[in-house]
Every structure is written in C-alpha cells, then in structure tokens.
C-alpha cells in the first residue's frame, strides 16, 4: 500500500530539506496519489516533522513527566530569555528552533534536552547560557 510509504517519504524529505514545504507536500501528493490534506495531517501529527523552515540548531526540550518535575519549564524560560522564542518558533536570524519532545531516556538526569540530536542533561540557566554561546560562536 502506497499509504505505508508516506512516513519514509516524509522522513527523507525532512532530512533532505530540513522541513516539509508546501511544494514538497504537493509533489508527494502527485507521486503517491495521497491527498495533500492527509499528507499535511500526518506531517503535523508527528513531532519529528516540521512544516516550516527550521533554524540551524534544533533544540528539543524534554517535557516527559520526570523532566517536568525536575523543571523543564525553567529550561524553556531560560531559553526564552536568551533566544526570545517559545516552543514551535524559530529565531529571526534562523540560528535556533525550539521544540518540546517526549521522554528521551535521561529521566535520571532531568531536566534534559536534545541539541541537534545530542543529549544535554541536568540543565540549569548557566549551563544553557554556555551551550547557546557555544552554538553562536
């Protein structure tokens, strides 16, 4: 079934272009016969896909239960302080995108986040500042 191929196709597109553009959605629809409304629905259902262009650095803050209790909210606050973006947004200079994600398996060292796929744990404001600074330089 061609429907089954949709996820791999979207994954490929996400990897190639960094996001699933409207043009890509139309192209995939023509190739597979799957309606654009469905493709967009699937692309917005999974947090690993993005339908808007993303920043160079992708930050995904865990909001699983353990990190939540350990203060993932503070992580988002600190990030807002230095980047001025909320989850789902991208900085104007296109350097950072911020998202939340589900448990990333570092529950013992929460709050945790992924930066470009790499885990950072036991986060606090100073640690975050240093991480951001490093990315900027």
């Amino acid at each position: 079934m061609v429907q089954d191929l949709l996820l791999p196709i979207l994954k490929h597109e996400q990897k190639k272009s960094g996001y699933i553009s409207e043009a890509a959605i139309k192209r995939i629809s023509i190739q597979t016969g799957i309606p654009v409304s469905r493709i967009f629905g699937v692309a917005t259902f999974y947090s690993m896909f993005h339908t808007k262009p993303q920043g160079k650095n992708m930050i995904e803050v865990c909001h699983g239960p353990s990190c939540h209790l350990n203060g993932s909210f503070n992580v988002l606050k600190s990030l807002y302080k230095s980047l001025k973006i909320k989850p789902g947004e991208t900085t104007k200079d296109k350097k950072f995108s911020l998202h939340t994600c589900s448990c990333i398996g570092c529950c013992d060292k929460g709050p945790a986040m992924l930066l470009n796929g790499k885990q950072y744990t036991l986060l606090d404001e100073t640690k975050l500042k240093a991480i951001i600074k490093k990315c900027r330089s």
Partner: protein, 557 residues
C-alpha cells in the same frame, strides 16, 4: 450466536455490532460519530455499553459467543456523562445548548448533563468561504466532515491536523476552504453533528432588498426545495409544498415568484439540442451535464481534459436569472439594475456559483432550503395554514420533466424525453426511463435513437463520479450530480438529510412528475412562447449569448 443482552438470553447473527443488535431491539443508545454506510471510527465515546463488565464502544464492538452485554448501568452513565462533558467543553463556547439545534445538544438534554466544568482551550477564527463556513469553536473533532469529504465525495479538502488538544480539522497548510480544492457541495454540513459547518447566510441582504421600495425582487425556487421544505415545519417527509411555498414567498413581499423548473425545461431544450447536434456531428462524446456547480468545480479542479465534453449550458437558475433581467425586464419595462434575483436552492455550491465572474450578473443571492425556512419563520408565517398559490407568469410554467431535475437521473431522463422526440420526430410511448431512476450511485442504460444506440450513465456523489469517469468513454451522455442522490440530498436541504429522508423526497419527486399533464420540456407552452418571442430557436446565437457559459482551469490542490 447466543448472547445475554440486559439479562435476557438472545440469539444474534454474526457480523453485527452491539449497536446494531440493540437498535434492532429498540434499545436506545446515544451515538454521535457513526456515519451511515461507512465503517465505525468510534471517536465520540458516547455509545458505551458493558461487555462482560468492561466498558466498550458499542458501535465498533462485535459480540462473541456467550458474552454478556449490559446497556445501562451506573458505570455506563458515569462515563458517558464525563465523555459528553468533555465533548461539550470543546463545543460550548459558541453554543446555545438548544436541544433542537443539533445532535450533541439533543444528547446532552437526554442524558441530563447540565454542568460543564471545563473551558475551551483554544479560540479560533471562523473559516468563511462564499458558501460554506466552518467554526472550529464548535467542532468536537468527531471527524465526520472529513469522512463525508473524503469517503463520500472523494475530494479530501479537509483532514485532521496536529495532535492532542491541538488537533483540529483543516485544509492542508491551514489554508482557508476558499483557497483549496473544495467543491462547496456542503456534504460536510450534513455530516456535522454539532452544527460547526453551515452555509454562509444571505438572509440579511435579501431582507434589505425586500425593504427597498425601488427594487423589484424576483424569487425562484429549485425543483427539490418543494419536496423538502415541509420537513422544516413538521410536515411528513416527502410532502410536496409547492403551493404553500409560493404563497409564503408572496406574503413576504417578493414581487414575482418564478419557478426554476421553467429554467430546467429551458436547460433541456438547449442541452437536448446540443446533444442532438453532437449526435449528428459524431461527438465529442460523452457529453456531460452541467447543472451542478459542485460537479463543475470538481471538473475544473481535477479533470481539465473534460472541457470539450462538458455541455455549455448554464444551470437552470442562472438561465432563469438571466431571462428575468432580459426577457422579463423588457416585457414589463423595468431597468435591469432595479431587479434583484434571489434563488432558493437545495445547495451550498450554488452560492459559490452565483459569485463566479461570468455568472455574477444573473443571480444576486442564493438562499438554501434551510435559510428559506428561517426566513419564513422570522416573518412569523405559519406555512402549514397557507392556501396553495401558483407561480407567476411568464417564467413560472413547467413540466414534469423539470421537476425530476431534483433527483439523480432526472436531468438525464428529462433530456432523453426531449432529445428522443425532437431527434426522431416520433412520440415517445413510455416517458418513464426507469434505468435512470433510484438511489444507486451509478446507473446506466441505453435508448434507440432512430437506429443509433445512445448509451447513457448517471452518477451522484463524488466518489461515484470518479468511478464513472474511469469508464466514461463507453457512453454518449452522462449526468453528474455531486450530492448523493442529487439535489434532494443537497448540502442546503433541511436537517437531517439521510438515506431514509432522501428516499421519501425522491418518491415525492416522481409522484409529482406523474401528476403533470405535460411531462416533456418541449411541450411547455411558455417555453415555446419564449423561443418565438425572444430567443429564436434552441441553440440560436442569442440563446448562446444568454444561456451558455464557459469554464476555468483551477488548481488541483
């Protein structure tokens, strides 16, 4: 299979859901998300029953040998209540909790839910198009509109987007309905159990026009409105209320009450002539009807190759609107600018049609059957007590052939009646083309036209249209209607519009046709007069200028 249902041992057939079994036995279970004829999706969680002590959704659960089903218990009540409350939290923001307005509020009243402790999380802007409006503030995400649009219409203009409490119904990329390939059929309107999708109302504009002394306001009513309007006033389904409807319209102050059926007879003259011409010239076949604006839009989005196959005839109400502002205006000496034409249609797509640049000047406002009922109510007119009245001349006379336009296959049958007689010069022995009748999604048949076999096909419902298009080349003449069973199932018809109601409306249409002395469009004396006085002959240059149209390519997304 042997099961226990509410402590009673019963025998049931395999393959039936618990809900089916309960329904057959008259046990009432509230349901919101089942879709007649489609597989259950079990999203609303209101149809709970206990199966061996565990809560399940009855619409999607099949019993097994020896199982025990309980349909009413404190546990069921408690959970149904909380599920309903959660649905209401999504819906309450703009709801008046009127039990007459839609299914959810009916259920709320029935199960006695009065307090809703949760507030809606989101505030949405309405999606306003020129014909269909979606209000996400009312939407409970049952998904029925998506299924109507996808599975019934095969258009897929909308789907769920996002996840969790951000989930909502939307066209792709969060575009507005206006900007995507939505054909405005309004089938999503009928699917919605909470009234979150409805027509764009034009009542205000019409009332203003009626108040304006300088305006000459003309109203016309579609064939399928007269067999459905009565439902809005508590009359039995399938009542024919033509006379009362005319009386009500006159009472509200419309200056002239014309009949779209006249336009339908005229369509047949033009379309029949066009078809005979194609028979003579050997094509292009199949010729496809163009009475349905949702089908036209469908074709313009998805089937550009069909342009040469399409008839060039405007839809009946556009023809009549045009004549009202030309033929009729000349006759009574009115300025075209002072005339306002209002069409009462079973249809949301006709609202869109009347905004098309090339048709804009013909009809000013389109009201749905539901809107007309609302209008009659606001004027405090008791429809049921009115004495029957007749349509006005010169655009009010019609034949049985026009009435059947309201049902799937009707345009085909009417066209065949006329094409046969005009094409062969013989009188048709039996005017009933049974092969074109009935609620089937696709119907086919053939007629002999002086030794030439004409194969015809009829499709209603978008999914059936797509199916028929795959084998279109087998046929000479095809009728397409976007709504299931045609305009009697149109997106502007009274709630509820389901298979049972549609059947009743269809019976009324064909009974009405039988009652006419004149059942062929070319026998309509007013039509003959119109050609003699004004248009010349069918297919004449003038007829082409006033009654025919052209189509545009649209994006397939």
């Amino acid at each position: 299979m042997q099961i226990t249902l509410d402590k009673r041992q019963i025998k049931v057939e395999e393959g039936k859901t618990i809900l089916d079994i309960c329904k057959e036995r008259g046990i009432e279970i509230p349901t919101l998300c089942i879709f007649e004829g489609l597989k259950p999706e079990a999203r609303c969680r209101l149809c709970l029953v206990e199966l061996n002590g565990k809560l399940v959704t009855s619409c999607s659960t099949y019993p097994h040998e020896g199982c025990e089903v309980v349909t009413d218990s404190p546990l069921i009540k408690k959970h149904r209540m909380i599920n309903a409350e959660l649905l209401m939290a999504d819906h309450i923001a703009t709801c008046n909790m009127d039990p007459n307005s839609h299914d959810l509020c009916k259920i709320i009243e029935k199960i006695g839910l009065t307090r809703i402790r949760f507030d809606p999380i989101h505030k949405y802007k309405q999606d306003l198009s020129e014909s269909v409006i979606r209000d996400d503030n009312k939407c409970i995400n049952c998904g029925k509109c998506i299924r109507a649009c996808g599975e019934i219409m095969d258009v897929h203009a909308i789907d769920f987007i996002n996840r969790g409490h951000n989930e909502k119904v939307s066209p792709y990329s969060e575009h507005k309905l206006h900007d995507v390939a939505c054909i405005k059929c309004g089938q999503c309107v009928h699917a919605c159990p909470v009234g979150a999708i409805y027509e764009r109302e034009h009542l205000y504009e019409v009332v203003q026009a009626l108040k304006d002394k300088k305006k000459h306001v003309i109203v016309q009513t579609a064939p399928s409105v007269r067999v459905a309007l009565g439902e809005e006033f508590g009359m039995p389904q399938g009542s024919i209320v033509t006379g009362k409807m005319v009386a009500a319209l006159r009472k509200m102050g419309f200056d002239k009450v014309f009949d779209t059926n006249f336009g339908a007879d005229l369509t047949i003259m033009e379309e029949g002539t066009e078809f005979l011409k194609r028979v003579k010239n050997g094509g292009p076949f199949p010729m496809i009807t163009t009475c349905c604006p949702a089908w036209i839009k469908f074709m313009e989005h998805f089937e550009h190759k069909l342009f040469p196959n399409m008839s060039t005839c405007k839809s009946p109400h556009e023809m009549l609107g045009n004549l009202a502002k030309s033929y009729y205006a000349d006759k009574v000496g009115l300025n075209k600018k002072d005339i306002v034409v209002v069409s009462i249609m079973p249809c949301t797509a006709k609202k869109f049609e009347s905004t098309r640049p090339e048709l804009k000047s013909d009809v000013d406002y389109v009201l749905t059957t539901r809107e007309l009922a609302k209008l009659i109510r606001t004027y405090k007119i008791d429809m049921t007590k009115l004495k029957d009245e007749k349509f006005d001349d010169p655009l009010g006379e019609s034949t049985g052939a026009a009435l059947i336009f309201g049902a799937t296959g009707g345009v085909m049958e009417a066209a065949l009646r006329t094409a046969y007689e005009l094409g062969t010069g013989k009188t048709l022995k039996d005017v009933d083309f049974m092969a074109a009748r009935g609620t089937d999604g696709i119907k086919t048949g053939s007629v002999d036209l002086d030794g030439k076999t004409i194969k015809f096909a009829v499709a209603s419902g978008g999914a059936n249209i797509r199916k028929l298009l795959k084998e279109k080349d087998k046929y000479h003449f095809i009728e397409m209607m976007a709504c299931p069973s045609g305009c009697i199932g149109g997106g502007g018809q009274p709630w509820p519009t389901n298979k049972a109601v549609i059947k009743k409306r269809m019976e009324a249409i064909y009974a009405g046709d039988k009652g006419f002395k004149l059942r062929k469009s070319h026998e309509n004396p007013s039509i003959k007069k119109l050609y003699k006085e004004f248009l010349g002959e069918p297919g004449s240059e003038r007829a082409h200028k006033l009654l025919h149209t052209h189509y545009h390519k649209r994006d397939r997304f």
